[in-house]
């Protein structure tokens, strides 16, 4: 059997967890699956942070070497996407954080631990949840950012499974 993969998003001060999210739209609201046209990011401001985790279900033996990066997609003027891995959950904020730009190659990709802080997720081990650690994402803009949709991007989540 192989592990089943889905992204989970956490929102709100009390950490509302949504597994199997429909999208990861950035916006001016702390919610999952938001409609960007309803909650656009005003030029010069930042989106609410997104806290996501990989969630593995079904069965496997070990999952390791988890990596996350943006592999393609040109940013428009003033647009920035920042990311940090293995952070603690905090109430998502629309204030620009100090995270670095999301890596754009496998060589510089974020290394993601398990939720328990290990490099490996061992199936069935005591206390293992099947979640990865949090990845925090945020989109920044400037007043120079053009209105409308931004360019298409490609993101990759890589992991080894046995």
């Amino acid at each position: 059997m192989a592990a089943t993969f889905q992204f989970s998003e956490s929102n709100t001060v009390s950490e509302t967890i949504t597994d199997g999210i429909a999208n990861l739209n950035f916006g001016s609201n702390d919610s999952t699956g938001l409609t960007p046209t309803s909650y656009p990011v005003i030029a010069g401001e930042s989106s609410f942070e997104k806290y996501i985790r990989a969630k593995f279900t079904s069965t496997w033996t070990e999952i390791s070497n988890m990596k996350f990066w943006k592999s393609a997609g040109t940013l428009v003027t003033g647009e920035a996407i920042k990311a940090a891995a293995n952070v603690s959950f905090a109430t998502p904020s629309a204030t620009a954080n100090a995270d670095s730009a999301i890596p754009t190659s496998l060589g510089t990709a974020l290394s993601v631990n398990s939720a328990e802080g290990d490099s490996t997720i061992i199936y069935g081990a005591s206390g293992v949840s099947g979640y990865s650690a949090y990845i925090r994402l945020q989109a920044d803009t400037t007043v120079s950012s053009p209105a409308g949709s931004v360019n298409q991007k490609t993101f990759i989540y890589q992991y080894d499974e046995v």
């Binding site: 990861l24 960007p36 990011v41 989106s47 989109a139 803009t141 993101f155 990759i156």
Partner: protein, 152 residues
């Protein structure tokens, strides 16, 4: 005032059926298949717990008629029982031969974060200690279509 729309959607990240299945053969003659005839899905953990007794480990795809076999006694890789990737031309002494096997998943999301592609590469091979005590690895990278690359 300008507004920026970041529209990122996730897809249904369903599990991709594995095209290659494994079979493990142990020194005592026991054979464990990933999917047994009784329908039981055997976890690789069973193999891992008996690594020291593992004689052969095989990946096979019946549709493609491809079989990759790791001979853990000799430290060689065989393809479809017909040829060996590595000739024993120098009869290199290989000590402490251990299996390497894992699947590398790349889940690729578009700008809307819909999963547009799920690539699985099987990493199959072995590591050993050479006569000088150095650890060496021989690994096949096999894609879902059975195309492979051999590396060390």
């Amino acid at each position: 005032m300008n507004s920026i729309i970041n529209n990122i959607e996730m897809g249904n990240n369903s599990m991709l059926p594995l095209s290659f299945h494994w079979t493990a053969k142990f020194n005592d003659g026991t054979i464990i298949e990933q999917f047994g005839e009784d329908g039981i899905d055997n976890n690789f953990k069973i193999v891992k717990e008996r690594f020291i007794d593992l004689k052969y480990f095989q990946l096979h795809n019946q549709d493609l008629s491809k079989i990759f076999t790791i001979d853990l006694e000799k430290g060689i890789i065989k393809f479809c029982d017909a040829q060996e990737f590595e000739e024993e031309k120098e009869k290199e002494i290989k000590n402490n031969i251990r299996l390497i096997y894992f699947r590398r998943h790349q889940r690729i999301f578009n700008g809307k974060m819909e999963e547009v592609k799920h690539v699985i590469i099987q990493y199959l091979g072995y590591q050993y200690q050479d006569i000088e005590g150095k650890n060496r690895k021989v690994i096949l990278k096999i894609d879902e279509n059975g195309k492979w690359v051999l590396g060390e």
